[in-house]
């Protein structure tokens, strides 16, 4: 496995004109050649392909996937015409549904929409040595208007069965008013792909950034110059034909503790940078971070929404009068004001059409709320600015590319008393200065005027902390009685508080008891429920059933009770992607047991310590015996939010030791004295 994968994700920029750096990617020497594929023509030999080295047990295999994009002019508007030709071998019955294909098409802001201008489909079956081919007919095609914005073009192929080769080609036209970036081409998907090829011819009227993602090398990469006639009455324009292909692409795998598989998919994306039409339109889209920052700062839907906000003057005056001296208290009051009065609708965004309207409507998306927060903070003379970021499920931000669509979220950044903090007002339960877990995605762009914009780290400022302590005695019949204090801080405290505040105490306790069916709670007191800065603390007096076993003269007790880790989350020996926990983890369990009368310690679990290289993590476990008291202390600390694949082995070992130690038991023996 490629342990340096994370750092080696390679990226590549090509500006359609100024392409010089041909060494960025070197086509790999491979025996794999582009297959020769003609629509509707399949021979018996195509059913008997040589092994590709790909997983032959997959439910289906893409034999050929070919996309091409060209630009054209229709009704005086530019269009992109995307032609896709796919050939798939059905290997298992569970893949039969791949014989039905759905292609979403979209409508733009105006009246124009994308058009499907042609669909051809075939199913090929091998009967003995003969190939029979069935063609897709009109009856197998449906256009479903899902909503005003989206139409699904659907078709279902005839005679698809296990072993079939299905094949289709469609041509989709996208007017520039609907989208001006060609669709992202993924070379990799859930099933293996033998050959994936993408060609695009870009006339030099358009500058696109071409961004490669994923970690598979290209098998083929070429470009050549051509000339084409696009505009009537205008001389031919030069154009460049780009060609990318990857052979034998393995199926995309997912693993636990990752941000999103999107970060690891091999793909090519496009972003329009500039349009330059002779004697016509010249429009610069974003090229550098500096221009992007400038565009954002001047945008009606961004910078202009927080620069001045007279409608917030009254609120600001009130906050100022209530917190006349302490600027931190003022900041906190403004933050609380926004997050308590404006309700988040659950959606992500980094823009806002009108902060004033949001202020009146008392609800909005992440962009609305946080730009409004910035407006209020500025009204209070704070140095507050937006940080654009990409949430974890949206994928990592590549600093090499100044693209707004890399982002899907914005938070507030405040510089006060020499301190920098970030605020997200979508969440009423989070501690000030802490970002929700969804935002913890490496790096964000702080957008400030005067070319002082920069990238800021989104590394968590808080950990995921759970500290449990207790005092117990051994009662009869396997029961342990006592008190337990469960203190949750940082991200753990935040999630507990969110559940508690939205679902109530009964549901919160129900969740706890569901995982601990042997608990009987006698009293429960919970503190820190409303103060986000405090730890969320539960104090229980409880009885735990079946906590120890008694056999003969001996008692066997697991001192971790119900709180030990019982499963190693990392089951495989190797790992493809980094382990991304989001935030560092801190767990501790400390309990004191009073030994029953007449029993003495016979055996104790041995103490154990394990550390990760570079002090990246540590686990320690110890059981001590003094007088008639037993004390257990178990501590886990994972100091990094992300562990690279090369650290996986050590991390897995650490968890293995935790699980082992947490299963160990104390042996108590009835002493001679007690025997009567």
């Amino acid at each position: 496995m490629d342990s340096h994968l994370y750092k080696r994700i390679w990226v590549l920029t090509l500006l359609s004109f100024l392409f010089m750096d041909t060494t960025a990617v070197v086509a790999q020497a491979t025996s794999t050649q582009a297959p020769i594929v003609k629509l509707g023509r399949v021979t018996a030999a195509d059913f008997d392909l040589a092994a590709s080295g790909l997983d032959s047990t997959a439910e289906a295999e893409v034999l050929y996937d070919h996309g091409s994009v060209r630009f054209d002019l229709r009704n005086n508007t530019f269009i992109m015409e995307f032609t896709r030709h796919r050939r798939i071998r059905i290997l298992k019955k569970s893949a039969l549904n791949r014989g039905t294909v759905e292609i979403p098409t979209f409508k733009g802001e105006g009246a124009e929409r994308e058009y499907m201008v042609g669909i051809d489909g075939y199913t090929h079956n091998l009967n003995g040595q003969n190939v029979t081919t069935d063609k897709l007919t009109r009856a197998g095609m449906v256009s479903e208007r899902v909503s005003d914005q989206v139409t699904l073009e659907k078709f279902t192929l005839p005679n698809v069965r296990e072993g079939s080769i299905i094949e289709y080609r469609y041509v989709l036209q996208t007017p520039f008013s609907v989208a001006h970036n060609p669709r992202t081409w993924a070379f990799q998907e859930e099933i293996p792909v033998r050959w994936s090829e993408y060609n695009i011819t870009i006339p030099n009227y358009f500058y696109y950034k071409i961004i490669m993602g994923g970690y598979l090398g290209l098998t083929e990469q070429k470009q050549r110059s051509v000339s084409m006639n696009l505009l009537p009455g205008v001389p031919d324009t030069p154009a460049i034909v780009y060609h990318f292909a990857i052979a034998n692409v393995p199926a995309l795998e997912s693993e636990d503790y990752i941000t999103t598989t999107r970060d690891y998919t091999s793909k090519v994306e496009f972003e329009l940078a500039k349009v330059q039409i002779p004697n016509g339109l010249i429009k610069d889209f974003t090229v550098s971070w500096e221009t992007l920052d400038k565009t954002l700062l001047m945008a009606d839907w961004f910078g202009n929404q927080y620069k001045k906000a007279p409608f917030l003057r009254d609120v600001a005056t009130l906050i100022r009068s209530q917190n006349p001296t302490d600027s931190l208290a003022r900041l906190s009051a403004a933050y609380d004001y926004i997050r308590k009065s404006i309700k988040w609708d659950g959606s992500n965004s980094y823009s806002c059409k009108s902060t004033r309207k949001i202020f009146e409507a008392k609800k909005g998306d992440a962009g609305d709320i946080n730009l409004l927060l910035i407006a209020l903070l500025r009204e209070l003379d704070f140095d507050a600015n937006p940080v654009l970021l990409s949430t974890r499920s949206h994928g990592r931000v590549m600093e090499e590319y100044a693209l707004t669509r890399q982002f899907d979220y914005v938070v507030a950044h405040v510089h006060t008393n020499g301190q920098e903090i970030m605020l997200d007002a979508t969440d009423p339960f989070i501690k000030m200065g802490m970002l929700p877990k969804r935002c913890l995605n490496q790096t964000g762009r702080l957008v400030v005027p005067d070319q002082k914009s920069r990238f800021v780290s989104l590394l968590p400022t808080e950990r995921d902390t759970e500290l449990t302590s207790g005092q117990f005695t051994l009662a009869d019949d396997g029961e342990v009685k006592g008190t337990m204090k469960h203190s949750r801080g940082g991200y753990s405290g935040w999630s507990a508080r969110s559940v508690y505040q939205t679902d109530g105490e009964a549901k919160y306790l129900e969740q706890i008891l569901k995982k601990r069916p042997n608990w009987q709670l006698n009293t429960t007191e919970i503190t820190g429920v409303s103060n986000p800065a405090a730890a969320f603390e539960s104090n229980h007096t409880l009885v735990i059933a079946d906590a120890y076993t008694e056999a003969g003269d001996r008692i066997y007790l697991n001192p971790m009770l119900t709180e030990g880790r019982t499963q190693n989350p990392f089951k495989e020996k190797t790992r493809l992607y980094p382990v991304d926990f989001g935030a560092p983890i801190e767990e501790a369990f400390m309990a004191t047991f009073t030994l029953p009368q007449g029993f003495a310690v016979e055996e104790l679990p041995k103490a154990a310590v394990i550390s990760l290289p570079d002090k990246a993590g540590r686990f320690s476990y110890q059981v001590l015996h003094t007088g008639n008291q037993l004390q257990v202390v178990s501590r886990l600390s994972l100091r990094k939010p992300i562990y690279f694949a090369e650290e996986y082995g050590a991390l897995r070992e650490l968890f293995a030791l935790i699980v082992t130690k947490h299963a160990e038991r104390v042996v108590l023996k009835r002493g001679e004295v007690a025997k009567k």
Binding site: G99, A361, K571, V659
Partner: protein
């Protein structure tokens, strides 16, 4: 009559006392466990003719907190046979004051895209007010539709969700006098109020002050707990087809006529079937050949069209394209069997794991699926024609153990599909473990799953790649620290299907060494957890549904490390209960410790008071599943 009409026409007009919009007017008991209160729910279904009705619903809902927001929306489904005539809505503040009225732009119109159907004309209109910054607030919706598919009359369950209480609800069914209404009341405190006029007869039901329902684990399905009125016609029309619906016989008759003579197949195909089955001496053999042909050549594509989705496309079309929905593939399979000389009957069923059985005492279209009944000798097979990989005649959790309506030329006949008993649904694990003195172990497991216990494994087996199967297993093997060295899943296509699973596991520290002792948990792979006791007095019956008919048997043989012997041997255990039985025993033989454990659980309905006994049974079983044997190293006396 006059009075009646006034009350029928009562619109959400002004001037009416605004109590129904004011949150403070909600009676206190309706706040308990409620996120929202249905203040008013008024349904008027007016049948104008056997084939036409109008359906008008007015709802007023007060949302108490954020979790009730979902109740503040309106979804009206419609299709080619159902037209939405009107949608009206308004939003009120806590004091009942009007905030705004619903605008056209607030109504979203889209296809009822379900991700499954290839072809459907189902659409929906959805009306949502912007989210409100504070609670409570109240929404009111009125909608009216014209219905032209009168196979279906309303099933009225105004309080349709957990944690929602109800203040007042009425159902009014206005019927032409010559068209008697059929109905069935379930959990209704007051019976129907019937007013007969010259032209129309009006049936009216009302419910008041129903507290919010708070579901409990393993409670009976909500459809049994909520107040409901089922209604159905005696005579009806849909797209020119007239039907009678007084009995199951009538229903079957209608479906039969609707789908009659749609089973012609091309001659070449008929010849092929004849040839294929000619050499099969038995009916079962012929059925098998035909079923295999269907499984190999066709596939399921959902098409929700044609006389309200109840008329199949012709078998000839399926022969051409080799795809179809459940009706089409069942019809096609019946046509092929006919060619082989085997008669078969469509069987309507309400399919789905955990789907409540149909209400047999109220003949109406309660089905969502059709399978094929093939009577042979004493036995009867029910063929699932939409599944290309399932075992012939195995109905499992999808269609097993429930009522079906056989569609015969003489009309419908109710009967039941096979119910699978605990011994049909087995998990048998035989595990050989070699244990070392440091507590590590290697295990060879030869496991077998049958009946409903094999369904998920069979699914994984037929659909997943080797890598995916491995990941799937890793998610399901509950051992603290292990590596899966090797695995193999194999399908056995017996009448009760089975999947065998061979695993080689390397288990780290399965036994815990402590000084001279080694603590060895006995149950390696199958230990069950206890269940959480009820935190409040149990209200509802305990429902162990068909998924609770199963039996797990484990035999684990431990080869002990040299010179280790058990310090004590656990006594054999036998726990008997009304829910099932548990036995476990350990024996020592030739240096091997043999652990044998079996648990059998049977489905059943038990009173609410039995929940504590259920918790006790599970706790006792869980305690036994955790039993450890303490091994002690014997000092070697002779040297």
């Amino acid at each position: 009559m006059k009075k009646l009409f006034l009350w029928l026409l009562a619109l959400p007009t002004l001037g009416v006392a605004q109590d129904e919009y004011r949150a403070s007017a909600i009676p206190a008991p309706l706040h308990t466990n409620a996120h929202a209160v249905i203040r008013r729910h008024e349904t008027v279904f007016t049948v104008k003719a056997p084939g036409e009705a109008t359906h008008r619903v007015r709802t007023v809902v007060t949302v108490l907190d954020a979790k009730g927001d979902d109740q503040a929306q309106l979804v009206v489904r419609y299709d080619k046979l159902s037209r939405v005539d009107d949608i009206w809505g308004a939003l009120y503040g806590a004091d009942g004051g009007l905030i705004k009225k619903l605008r056209k732009a607030d109504i979203d119109d889209r296809s009822a895209y379900d991700g499954v159907s290839f072809l459907t004309d189902n659409r929906l209109k959805q009306a949502i007010f912007p989210r409100q910054p504070s609670y409570p607030y109240t929404v009111e919706f009125v909608y009216e539709t014209t219905e032209r598919n009168l196979m279906f009359y309303p099933t009225w369950t105004p309080q349709s969700d957990e944690n929602v209480s109800l203040e007042q609800a009425t159902l009014t069914m206005v019927m032409p006098t010559n068209m008697p209404l059929r109905y069935k009341e379930v959990n209704m405190k007051t019976p129907v109020e019937r007013v007969a006029g010259n032209q129309q007869t009006v049936y009216r039901w009302a419910i008041q002050n129903q507290p919010a329902l708070q579901l409990e684990p393993m409670a009976p399905p909500a459809s049994e707990l909520l107040s409901t009125v089922y209604t159905a016609p005696t005579t009806f029309e849909v797209q020119g087809y007239a039907g009678v619906m007084q009995s199951w016989r009538d229903l079957g008759r209608f479906y039969y006529l609707l789908n009659r003579d749609r089973d012609q197949i091309p001659d070449a195909l008929r010849q092929r079937v004849v040839q294929l089955t000619a050499n099969e001496p038995t009916a079962l053999g012929k059925i098998k050949k035909v079923y295999e042909l269907v499984q190999q050549s066709t596939r399921y594509v959902s098409v929700q069209l044609g006389i309200g989705g109840w008329q199949t496309i012709e078998a000839g079309k399926v022969a051409d394209t080799q795809y179809g929905d459940c009706k089409a593939l069942t019809n096609y399979t019946r046509a092929l069997l006919k060619a082989a000389g085997i008669p078969a009957i469509d069987a309507l069923v309400r399919a789905g794991n955990g789907a409540p059985d149909i209400r047999t005492d109220f003949p109406s279209f309660q089905f969502n699926h059709v399978i094929l009944c093939v009577p042979i000798n004493q036995d009867t097979l029910y063929l699932e024609c939409t599944d290309q990989s399932g075992v012939m005649g195995y109905n499992g959790t999808f269609t097993g153990g429930r009522h079906v309506l056989l569609v015969t030329p003489d009309g419908g006949k109710l009967t039941q599909t096979r119910h699978y008993s605990p011994t049909d649904n087995r998990q048998v694990r035989r595990i050989d473990v070699v244990l070392t003195a440091d507590g590590n172990a290697t295990a060879e497991a030869r496991n077998l799953y049958t009946g409903i216990q094999q369904e998920s494994r069979a699914q994984a087996l037929v659909s997943k790649s080797q890598t995916e199967q491995r990941n799937w297993l890793l998610q399901r093997i509950v051992i603290p620290n292990y590596e899966l060295t090797n695995f193999l899943l194999t399908e056995h296509r017996t009448p009760i299907p089975a999947v065998s699973e061979n695993l080689t596991l390397s288990v780290r520290k399965w036994a815990t060494p402590s000084g001279a002792r080694l603590f060895l948990p006995l149950n390696l792979m199958s230990a069950l957890d206890p269940v959480t006791p009820a935190s409040a007095p149990r209200q509802f019956e305990l429902d162990l549904d068909a998924n609770w008919d199963w039996q797990d048997t484990d035999t684990v043989s431990y080869q002990l490390p040299a010179s280790y012997t058990p310090e004590f041997m656990p006594a054999p255990v036998s726990i008997r209960s009304k829910f099932g039985d548990y036995t476990a025993q350990v024996s020592l033989k030739d240096g091997r410790l043999i652990y044998m454990r079996q648990i059998t659980v049977r489905r059943g309905r038990h009173p609410a008071s039995a929940y504590a006994e259920w918790v006790d049974f599970r706790r006792r079983a869980a305690r036994q599943d955790k039993v450890q044997v303490v091994l002690v190293k014997q000092e070697v006396a002779t040297k």
